[in-house]
């Protein structure tokens, strides 16, 4: 039982991060029908930005995180601006463009921070909470809390604000949205910016849990992408459920299948997607290439 609960704690913590990454993938996909393959690299830049400001300038962790969100948000806007001339013209080129940006960001990170990377000290250096032998690191609680707040804020933004409603409208039918006077380009830029901001939240949270280096975006990107697929690509609740499911799947496979855990995780994922190709929250997804 203790092992079960401890595994659960680890799974939920990493699941929360995967959910944030998946949400970043999904918000861009639902507005533009585009998979942003640079997303993993944006997560990496977010991790670097937050950890650098936190460690070098001794900013409080929360402030460093906000700075990281601004930095990656700007990167998101730049990527969108470059891709905008291709919008509704050449979808494949846009996809390749995002892959290219991923490579560029990785190369930039190596130029700025070097190839070796750095470890980030835990910002909440307190003893884990002990609940009957199950230990919950305080940092895990922080990760889950921040992820929950970010998710709620995003949901409120999409549901309750005019801008959010406009983005939803573009996602449903961009021609009709244009007819209503919504600026599609601006809406796309906003989705890219928010996606990149979410990447920064995920990146800055994962920094102290892992080791920040230029290639860390690869695995996180793949897991986040798979989580988004599992939940239903483009669906926000799907991204959260998918992320959690992936974190837990990973955690329990590690304990029970040892060296085969990765294999088991992705076989289960492949089976799930085969049985339900649209994911758990299978919305009719957009495709406007």
């Amino acid at each position: 039982m203790q092992v079960f609960l401890q595994t659960l704690i680890g799974g939920i913590t990493f699941g929360a991060v995967y959910a944030l990454v998946a949400m970043g993938f999904s918000i861009v996909y639902r507005t533009m029908g585009l998979v942003n393959f640079a997303h993993g690299s944006v997560v990496m830049i977010g991790a670097y930005a937050a950890s650098t400001f936190y460690m070098a300038t001794r900013l409080p962790f929360a402030v460093a995180m906000v700075v990281a969100i601004v930095v990656t948000g700007l990167i998101g806007l730049v990527i969108e601006r470059f891709l905008r001339p291709l919008e509704n013209k050449d979808f494949t080129l846009m996809l390749i463009g995002t892959i290219g940006f991923g490579a560029v960001l990785e190369a930039l990170a190596i130029l700025i921070w070097g190839a070796t990377g750095h470890a980030v000290p835990n910002p909440v250096a307190t003893e884990p909470i002990n609940l009957g032998g199950v230990r919950i690191p305080t940092y895990s609680l922080l990760v889950i809390g921040v992820a929950a707040v970010a998710t709620t804020m995003l949901a409120l933004f999409l549901r309750r604000t005019k801008l959010g409603a406009a983005m939803q409208a573009v996602a449903m039918d961009h021609e009709a949205a244009t007819a209503c006077g919504i600026h599609v380009g601006r809406s796309n830029a906003l989705s890219f910016g928010i996606g990149a901001g979410l990447a920064a939240v995920a990146g800055s949270l994962i920094g102290p849990m892992l080791y920040v280096n230029p290639t860390m975006g690869g695995t996180l990107g793949i897991k986040g992408f798979a989580a988004a697929m599992l939940g239903g690509f483009g669906s926000m609740p799907g991204a959260i459920v998918g992320g959690m499911a992936f974190g837990l799947l990973d955690a329990f496979a590690a304990g029970n299948f040892q060296a085969y855990s990765e294999l088991v995780t992705f076989v289960v994922f492949a089976l799930a997607v085969m049985i339900r190709p649209t994911g758990i929250f299978g919305e009719a997804t957009v495709n406007r290439a």
């Binding site: 203790q2 680890g10 230990r135 974190g247 060296a259």
Partner: protein
């Protein structure tokens, strides 16, 4: 990349064409002595290859400045094996055709293993930086290691933990990559010889980040020692999460656990007291090492490390042997290398018939992020 491979193969083939023609460059008594350094300069393993090359170059430059080998300069040429055994075998043919008397490198056991038969036939002595026990198993008279094999690392560790510290409850966690599985097998073998059965033996994947499940199982056994068989970052993550779970066991492992990457990833407090088995504990371990580290930093502007030091040792041994043969290669050079007794940075070199020169590692304890010799603490 394909083009270069084809080009290299062509060069090798054309150069091989005239049979029986001058393969014994050992006869030459004038001009520079050609020594090849083969290491990955591109691809995933290029950081290792670059360190190795810097260490080798430092030794050769010093020797040349001091007058070379009996008045002849050593010409060091660098070849990129891309960490790929196929490229490695092509390069082995190329250097034998081009009249190189000796080869230094590579940093990857797999590449060296592939090249060894060709170099043996061509009678080109090779001092490698590989650490796989499989290299020693070849028993090639032309292959020498500049570091101990994993067997020595883990045997020393087991000796310290079980024989000296009388630890009985030992748990293992290792990844199933090339390095991790090698460590796992070697340490397990050393434990078996001492009639110790590990209380837990968890295997993880090299990409894994969350070890809660594996560590929770280990915690149930309440081990005194946790052996970690993984690379620097993963070892650090395992140590950090283990302490978060309240595991009190002493961490033990090979060379990766003596690095600052391990200590900072785990957190200095969590890494404190970790037991490290390595022939090169730190840049401050001895006066000779201190001097070397300062010299290295002055030339390259970065900190020295194990990979640099062992490449430097290997190249120095090669130069010493060349001095004895007067620049001649072949069997004579191999015999000369076997005869070199060097008090190197990694320890006392004393080659046996399997080409292993260092037969022990040192035990260090991590203190404030740095490995210090266990005896001094």
């Amino acid at each position: 990349m394909k083009l270069t491979i084809v080009a290299v193969t062509l060069v090798a083939l054309t150069a091989c064409a005239p049979p029986g023609e001058d393969s014994g460059s050992g006869q030459k008594t004038e001009g520079p002595i050609k020594v090849a350094n083969i290491n990955a300069q591109s691809g995933q393993l290029s950081s290792l290859g670059k360190w190795e090359n810097k260490g080798v170059k430092l030794a050769v430059d010093e020797a040349n400045k001091a007058g070379g080998v009996n008045g002849r300069q050593v010409q060091l040429d660098l070849f990129d094996d891309q960490g790929d055994p196929t490229v490695g075998t092509n390069l082995a043919r190329k250097i034998s055709a081009d009249g190189y008397v000796a080869m230094l490198g590579t940093a990857e056991s797999a590449v060296t293993l592939a090249m060894a038969p060709i170099l043996k036939t061509a009678k080109i002595p090779n001092i490698t930086s590989g650490q796989s026990p499989k290299l020693a198993d070849l028993k090639s008279p032309f292959l020498f290691l500049n570091a101990p094999t994993s067997v020595t690392f883990d045997e020393t560790l087991a000796k310290y933990l079980v024989d000296e510290k009388a630890s009985k409850k030992i748990a293992l966690i290792s990844n199933n990559g090339a390095y991790g599985s090698g460590e796992h097998d070697a340490f397990l073998k050393s434990l078996k010889q001492r009639n110790v059965t590990p209380v837990a033996d968890e295997v993880v994947t090299p990409e894994q980040k969350d070890f809660n499940s594996n560590l929770a199982k280990i915690r149930q056994q309440n081990p005194e020692v946790l052996f970690i068989g993984a690379e620097e970052v993963q070892s650090g993550l395992i140590a950090k999460q283990a302490r978060e779970l309240g595991l009190k066991a002493v961490f033990a492992g090979g060379a990766p656990m003596g690095t600052d990457v391990y200590a900072t990833t785990a957190g200095l407090a969590n890494a404190e007291g970790s037991v490290v088995s390595s022939p090169y504990l730190s840049n401050e371990a001895s006066p000779a090492i201190k001097e070397f580290a300062a010299k290295y930093k002055a030339v390259y502007g970065e900190e020295a490390r194990l990979h640099v030091a062992k490449a430097y040792d290997g190249a120095s041994i090669m130069i010493e042997a060349l001095k004895q043969t007067g620049g001649e290669g072949g069997q004579k050079l191999a015999d000369a290398i076997r005869g070199v007794k060097r008090d190197g940075l990694l320890g006392q070199y004393n080659y046996d018939e399997s080409g292993v020169g260092i037969h022990e590692t040192k035990i260090g304890l991590v203190k404030e992020g740095k490995a210090v010799p266990a005896a001094a603490s």
